[in-house]
Symmetry: D2
Subunit: 315 residues, 4 copies
């Protein structure tokens, strides 16, 4: 039975996990994330070696999920937003050191693949996975295949323009979806509302340090569960943007399901219910067409690691 | 050598054409478009019979391009915008009468396929075709296959929301791309400008009946070629919206080429040059990623017929 | 004691009322609104004569509130949206026939003046009155004077652009505030939501004829009072646009109060509470500046008549 | 003949000027701008003393133009954006030290008054002055009086929302006009275009240090005068936003003239011509109503000083 290793590169730690054919993580090894670009490659190899050592079975391949643009050969990181990798031949370097075949994939693509294979997407052939974390990413499965585009950089959902002349984005463009539909956006909504009407935000402010700028994502979730109107309204505003975007993606891709993952989706129905409402409001032709389902992701933050491992298995 | 017939349903006439394996139209037969839904089916069969009669070779299959939603079996028109077809089993009805296998396809998908196979898309594997006619339609080719989505209604480009709370669309939604990037939008731009500054629109107004409401698409094209600033500015405004939308599609699909067809694209570089400029302005990550080409369609208004015939051949 | 007559021109009837110095309506005479432009002038005179005959006191002057542009001399209706008056010398014509001094004023200006003098605006020197009816109108009082602008056509609040490239307006422009903040907009919000999620709109649909297109303003109000979520959400959407617009007007005019009148405001706190919340959210510098009050109008639909009469008194 | 002193507080120097009844600046004294809030008050007094010493005539009063919110008594700076003044009793402090009556006014209001009295606004009774500098400010003259609002903070044109969910503004709000219509916006337009299509920006890039981030306002002006298309297009984009905003202000205030001042307006017709075109395009009712003129300011950067001095004279 073929085991493969999936690697997830986080801001604080790098995790390598041994994954079997059914998506089970048999063994995980983590190392701290070093500050330098070269150091991170060393750390990836160390994590792989650690995970490999901890398992008896043979490892067939390694899959690495990396933020940023990965080329169509799944070998080179063209551009990474948080690491100084520019046209970095990650596949070659890691293969040389660990002596196993390596596949590099965009991390959101890897997570999407994980959900499609072993999570909420099982049984579907056409699925869009949206990851609502600090930003917004995702992946496209059409006809049971991960769609990467001609140059490997498809599925950059977060940078579709949803507001002409809208908010500046780190990417240099304006009005990108992730400026309105992401954990960062949720915090902005809550802070703007709390600043404007602090008397309505007593619960929310009480959960943090009492200041508007101290409001963090987890406070909004906790306050919303306690019915705080500023928090609930902030989730509704987020959901309006998420749902409207899904309606657009339905017009384009017509999947049978959308899967919503990432930290924001941990709130479950608190966010999914208004997302579905907004999705239906803006879905074009909703009277005539079958509606895609809007599902919660099931694998949590191991989706990327599991997906990368499985992509490596498939070669 | 297998010949197939492609059918194009227009507002005034229905055309059936015999098409060979290289996309050549050997024979065409046209009939007027009847006013009733049932009459149109009769007319389609009559056109097919006429085309068939005019050729010596054997016909293997018939492909019909129809506006609206076509189901995933390519058999039923779920909803047509201009004909009273609702869950209309077009494939069965036409097969019964003409005695040939029939494939029904969304007309913009058929045209996209035509361009991919025999027009500007040859040699590409991942292509987005945009048809700028009165409205805006198109088709998706990814991995050398036409992508129809799970339920057959993908590639509804025209109804992606590009302006929140924007213009009402016939689809019931607001801010749809085709309200900003289409022949109809171009006319609106020109009329608004001519009404506001008639002294700048002398050439444009002189080409029509002299009134703002008399301005038609062909006047704008003619005036633009003569340097009329209102007409040129109207094309630029159109191009801004087209190019910004292409940038979004590049983020999502990452094709190697966009092909721009439809009546508006007949103006060639008058529209393509500013479209490319706008596309580049809004393309996210343009510094790092390879850029898709923006090409003019090559088949003109026979793309749909040729594409439908070829899809029928492929079964 | 000087009495004056105010005239209100409605779509179905024309009302003339005798008004005293304290804004009391002592006597009202109404006549049906004729279909022709000239007929309406006759009817105005008849209504004035009727009201005059019904009172013992002497009438000093007549004030007429008319929809549309009224010139800076308050004599000529430059353009009326619903009556075929173009540069119509209304003042001269009515003066000739009724033998009294006549002042013509834009109807929304007249209503604003009425509220300022005898309604919710008493005691304020700087007031903006917003009338949320089918459309959106209003008037400006700054320094205790009605501000009409240089040419008489100031305070066209409804046609400020709040959405670039937004909804088409009857005025020919796009994105006008009244397309988002008016009774007509409220109906659109409710219909869009009811169409998308009919199962959530049971109460609302049950109040009308059961169809989405049968939803009228009064159904939305009734449903909202019964907690129907589609109706409540529709009011919230309306309120978001009203409040954001008030925040802009505060940046420009810095009044001490906004007064919200018109049919939509009959719902009282159902609309005013979310309007205040939205106003505060978007008010620039809200931490530092004193906040304008947001008040409900008090005179209902007699504001225009009373205001016109009072403006006539002041000459 | 009464002389007064006007004070202009700049980022690098504070200027006090002796101004006569006809707006002539007879004498100017400047001092460097100190870094502290208290130091600036000292410096204002020193500049006043210096200007006073340099003239033979008697000084009747002092007018100070200050950025930020000035209260309705024209005495206290409620909030200043660049100086640490919060509820600062500037009038009292300066009166105590210089022994002259002092009037404090918002600096954009002062500049507007200067243009109205001695510049492009002479002969008009209802004027809106827009100052396009780094940001966007302005002032309102209606009925020959400066309109300050109930609390003194009217005419904050730059913070009217022109794009819902638009660019973040330093004020905490989003979509403020000054984010789209200001010198800073012009630079953004040019940089975005130069980054996207550097081959079209050769002239522009050559005027600076060759990098996109090195593009400054003066380079755009110089390049536009030489026909560089990126620079010309950037001015056009700026003008679209300025003109559309003026159209809204016409709907609200109906002035007889708009006066465009500030550094951006130094380019004259390069910016004014497209502004007028955009203004006319978006002016509601343009067929029926008289059009406000769009004029270039005449006093340049001494408008604020002259205006403050004149407001002080009028008491």
């Amino acid at each position: 039975m073929a085991l493969t290793i999936g690697v997830d590169i986080g801001g604080t730690k790098i995790a390598a996990g041994v994954v079997d054919e059914e998506g089970n993580v048999l063994e995980t090894h983590t190392v701290p994330t070093p500050p330098t670009a070269d150091g991170i490659i060393e750390a990836i190899c160390a994590a792989v070696d650690g995970a490999r050592a901890g398992t008896g079975g043979e490892i067939a391949a390694v899959g690495i999920g990396a933020a940023g643009y990965v080329d169509d050969k799944r070998a080179t990181v063209i551009f990474a937003p948080n690491i100084d990798w520019r046209h970095e031949p990650l596949k070659d370097k890691v293969e040389q050191r660990v002596g196993l075949p390596v596949v590099v994939e965009n991390d959101a693509n890897a997570a999407a693949w994980g959900e499609y294979r072993f999570g909420a997407g099982q049984g579907h052939h056409d699925v869009i996975v949206i990851t609502l974390g600090t930003g917004l990413g995702g992946g496209i499965i059409m006809g049971n295949k991960l769609r990467r585009g001609r140059f490997g950089v498809a599925a950059e959902f977060g940078h579709v323009r949803v507001v002409p002349d809208g908010l500046l984005c780190g990417c240099g463009s304006q009005g990108c979806w992730e400026q309105y539909a992401s954990g960062r956006a949720l915090v902005r909504y809550a802070r703007q509302r709390a600043a404007a009407t602090p008397e309505r935000a007593a619960v929310l402010l009480g959960l943090g340090d009492g200041t508007v700028d101290g409001i963090q994502g987890q406070h909004i979730s906790a306050a919303a569960r306690r019915g705080d109107t500023v928090a609930v309204d902030s989730f509704r505003e987020l959901a309006r943007w998420v749902g409207a975007g899904l309606a657009d993606l339905a017009s384009l891709f017509d999947p049978s399901a959308f899967i919503i993952g990432g930290g924001v989706s941990d709130e479950g129905e608190l966010v999914l219910d208004p997302v579905r409402k907004s999705f239906r409001r803006w879905l074009v032709g909703s009277q005539w067409r079958p509606h895609a389902q809007v599902l919660a992701a099931e694998l949590g933050n191991r989706a990327g690691l599991v997906g990368a491992a499985d992509l490596a298995r498939q070669g």
